[in-house]
Subunit: 220 residues, 2 copies
Amino acid sequence: MMTTVDAVSFRLHQAKLQVLFYRRPCAPFQHDLALPSTQVNKAHDRCLADALLRIFIDYKLPTPAFSEQVITVGGSERDPRGWSASVVYFCLFKDEQMLAQEGWHWLDVAPLLQGEGEIAFDHRQLVTHAVERLKMKSRYSTLPVYLLGEEFTLSELQQAFEVILDVPLNRAAFRRRISRANLLEETGNSRTGNQRPAALYRRRGSGEVLFDQVMNGCAQ
Amino acid sequence: MMTTVDAVSFRLHQAKLQVLFYRRPCAPFQHDLALPSTQVNKAHDRCLADALLRIFIDYKLPTPAFSEQVITVGGSERDPRGWSASVVYFCLFKDEQMLAQEGWHWLDVAPLLQGEGEIAFDHRQLVTHAVERLKMKSRYSTLPVYLLGEEFTLSELQQAFEVILDVPLNRAAFRRRISRANLLEETGNSRTGNQRPAALYRRRGSGEVLFDQVMNGCAQ
DNA sequence: ACAATAGTGTCTATAAGACAATATGGT
DNA sequence: ACCATATTGTCTTATAGACACTATTGT
């Protein structure tokens, strides 16, 4: 039986959530868009996480800032070549590390979930699962920080949440929450523009922070 | 490569959370306790959930009231026979349907997680994963109802949460929460004893209910 | 001065947790 | 009457969301 690890790789680009695909050079689903994937290799992979990392190493892509297993799907109908199983991970990248990768396609998540694009296998469904997980966790954790660069403003962080959750958030409440999480530290620098400069922050050591209450968005 | 589906089957018995094991008749790990499991069968299983159900059918066990995929682990060190992958599900059973199953062992979760018992493979670790998931979801959903019988009192439901979370809960808050969930309906019957009878409830159609706020227990 | 965005103060609503009062059966 | 548990009322605290006010830069 064929067992693969598939990566649903997210980035935020121009206020859109995007997922990484490549165009399949050969059948089945020739010319369709597919998720980067690899067969589990008994000789090289000590565990499934190794196989995931090998995807990015083999394709000379950067290493994800965060990754997490989402689901494993298996069945006889997924691949015309026969029974197969895929272990699906979602991976978060900083936009800046993913500039100008030749031969790769970043697709906006929204139209993709609406059914746009020629997508190979059940990969649209796999993206749906990964987006669901990302949205769910973004409601009660600080996961989206991993989609931002080294330094960022609180407004940029809020926008990351808003893009993922697809709902506007209350500014004051958002800032209180992030402040309580004690997740960030000021870098001392600030981002300037045609307005009041914003303080820049970086992640502090600690990892993901979980909250006792979820965010539901606001009316604004 | 060997791909199996493993079941972490929970029940509540005498105010303890227990997991179902059997004793391995042959090597490797002969005589150790192992989780019920089956190899994915290309001919008989259309998907992974089919393989899970086949475990219970093949062993003539009842069907779980609820099941959910937890994680997939894979690696070269898990099984002395070579690289293997296991898709782990947790399954919830009503205590009453699991009485007197010959040849099966229900182990209390607490000592199991403390390292007690001779457990085959990495199955103790798999139980740890499943318990974590069950605890996490019990903090913000109504999942534990699937561990109770047809009819139950609110005190019994609260005790189910308390056993899983291993923390006492506030009675008034718990009842308000369950009431808001609109998950139950009174059966009209009541449970009698040497005290005021308690109203009996049953699950109403709707499935699992998610809350916006998690329970943290109380001082009592 | 004005535009634009950053940052904060304060009010309301909701729900958790604390605690105690009341209700209702068996003995 | 008394015990044990069920059920409910109410107070406090924490946090989300609403909304508006102040702050600080470039033009």
